[in-house]
Amino acid sequence: MTSEQIDLAPSRRKGAAGEVVLEVSNLDVTFPSGDGPVRAVRGVDYTLHRGEVLGIVGESGSGKSVTSMAVMRLLPTTAKVTGEVRFDGRNLLELSESEMTRVRGSKIAMIFQDPMTSLNPVYTVGAQIAEAVRAHHDVSKAAALDRAVQLLDKVRIPNARDRASSFPHELSGGMRQRVVIAIAMANDPDVIIADEPTTALDVTVQAQILDALKAAQQETGAAMVLITHDLGVIAGQADRVMVMYAGKPVEIGTAEDVFYTPRMPYSLGLLGSLPRMDRPSERLTPIPGSPPSVVNMPPGCPFGPRCPKHTEVCDETEPELRATTSATHLAACHHAEALVGAEAEDVFDTEVADHDALAQLAEETP
């Protein structure tokens, strides 16, 4: 047993907290399309420190998922990826496919939104976790299966030993996602990337999965990139937050920075759009218009056409991320200073309906 046992004690080979574990710089992803190149990601930079949770938030099409797929080198070969992804002293974008395979799953693990597509329907979940263990460790099948049961227990699946012989379709959505988390933990990774891990689930189940994710992170000591459109999930889980818009980070800071003192009108509008459960109803501040098409993007700030603070300079030059109140709170806005102390309803209009038309309609209504 002793030679077979898999030593996966956390901090085994992990460095000190605060050390940079993953560094993405100048990442660009372009897809070809009939209408011209689609620039899905346009210059993403971020660093991930040991043990921290970085939340990436943005709406559909903001490039948040493509960014992490590029880090994992999981994009189709037609995608053109440039820039640098530094991990363990190497640029992942320059590794050969076989070298990358050794990194994937063992050093960097990924959790996707839909567990049914991550799991193989014809193998038991125990076998699938064991397979992940054996892919990177030279151990017997029996030892790997023991480890699988142990992992299922860690993600709080009741009767783990029995459950290991279930097939994915026999489990509920929440249970399946736990299995996926167990697979991600299997090789004690340094980084876990979770892409919308709870989006398909009901809220009570979401709460359970967020607990399991936290447990996985503590158990392995891994740093985590948590991608989601849900600002509530980010508020509860992330140490630092990166807001993305049209393929670019537009604001980065601690969770407190971004939630309490946003310095980019988009973040401010997003927060003002959220109905809040913890206080009586207030007017929401919708953001007018819709995100730009990433094919043939016009020059200037991509948020400009929807932004009430928009001026001439916004049309001419696209703002770069720059330090605001503190050196670690960055925002990409020419008018970041103008947002000091501003509430969402000071900046955005809350009226939506056309009132003349509405009045006419009301008059005609019997």
Binding site: Q208, G232, S273, L274, P275, R276, I287, A353, L358
Partner: protein, 337 residues
């Protein structure tokens, strides 16, 4: 109190489960809605909330007579909708309209938008009398440009499509709108626009809303009163204020505490009430209280004697001293926010 606009009484909806093969004998039933009652006053918004599979959408469809109830009554202005003739229902459809969740599936892709909005007017023979002008006004009202009327649905964004759905629902000047997850498919910045629009329409046109949603934050924002559903039954109901400041049923408490708040300090300091396990099958619900298999109170606080009552006796939806009705034998209101 004046007579409610809509009154739903003991509605039950079972879907048969049939055996495979030629005979397709009925071998059971999914109890999608089991004895649901509520009322909706004029100008009011009632939020129907719950997780997937709780029967909220089925209830909404039964209310509109889109699917027939197995038993029970739905009264609109005192008139019974269950078992009404087709002609009678058609007349009432002018006053009862629905907006669906998926703005991609609920609009005909081969019809220009002004035709989509005009269709209800044509069906009810009202188009000839200034229909064109009305369609323009409707488009303007919901924040669309009337000159885009000859475009097709796919040329619009999700938020705009949902506005088209709302304009179509408003075309016949209804009194009651059933909104079935109207903003769930939209990004938050767009969702806020649709919610504000619904607010403005209601105050100007005096509409009543039956608002079905899984999102408690959205429901708190829009609803005057809320009914929380679990496995086909209403487990707690009250004003928005009551349910969020003093929820009494363990399920409502768990739901509220499971929803993350977009406020880092508050969110991290919150007390959590977590439920265990997954939803039981609605074809074979637990005896007694349907929530007991996942109930944190049942598992952690009750003595085995008290538990027996949960197992044997289905709790009724009555006021248990919390100022609003809840269906838990051991209901106890708590402040969670």
């Amino acid at each position: 109190m004046s007579e409610p606009l809509l009154s739903v009484r003991n509605v039950v909806k079972h879907f048969p489960i049939r055996s495979k093969g030629l005979v397709r004998r009925q071998i059971g039933a999914v109890q999608a809605v089991s004895d649901v009652s509520f009322e909706l006053a004029e100008g009011e918004t009632l939020g129907l909330v719950g997780e997937s599979g709780c029967g909220k959408s089925t209830t909404a469809r039964v209310v509109l007579n889109l699917i027939p109830a197995t038993s029970g009554q739905v009264l609109y202005k005192g008139r019974e909708l269950t078992g009404i003739s087709r002609g009678g229902m058609r007349e009432l459809r002018r006053e009862l309209q629905i907006v669906f969740q998926d703005p991609y599936a609920s609009l005909d892709p081969r019809m220009p938008v002004n035709e989509i909005i005009a269709e209800p007017l044509r069906i009810h023979g009202l188009y000839a009398d200034g229909g064109r002008e009305q369609v323009r006004t409707l488009m303007q009202t919901v924040g669309l440009k009337p000159e885009h009327g000859n475009r097709y649905a796919h040329e619009f964004s999700g938020g705009q499509r949902q506005r088209i759905g709302i304009a179509r629902a408003l075309a016949l000047r209804p009194k009651l709108l059933v909104l079935d997850e109207p903003v769930s498919a939209l990004d938050v910045s767009i969702q806020a626009g649709v919610l504000n629009l619904l607010d403005e329409l209601q105050s100007e046109l005096g509409l009543s809303y039956l608002f079905v949603s899984h999102d408690l934050s959205v429901v708190r924002h829009i609803a005057d009163r809320i009914a929380v559903m679990y496995l086909g039954q209403i487990v707690e109901t009250g004003t928005s204020e009551q349910l969020f400041t003093a929820p009494a049923h363990p399920y409502t408490q768990a739901l509220i505490s499971a929803i993350p708040l977009p406020d880092p300090r508050k969110e991290r300091a919150r007390e959590r009430i977590t439920v265990v396990g997954d939803l039981p099958s609605p074809a074979n619900p637990p005896s007694g209280c349907r929530f007991r298999t996942r109930c944190p109170k049942f598992a952690n606080e009750l003595t085995s004697e008290q538990q027996t009552r949960c197992v044997e006796q289905p709790p009724e939806l009555v006021d248990r001293g919390d100022g609003h009705p809840s269906s838990c034998h051991y209901a106890e209101s708590r402040a969670l926010l």
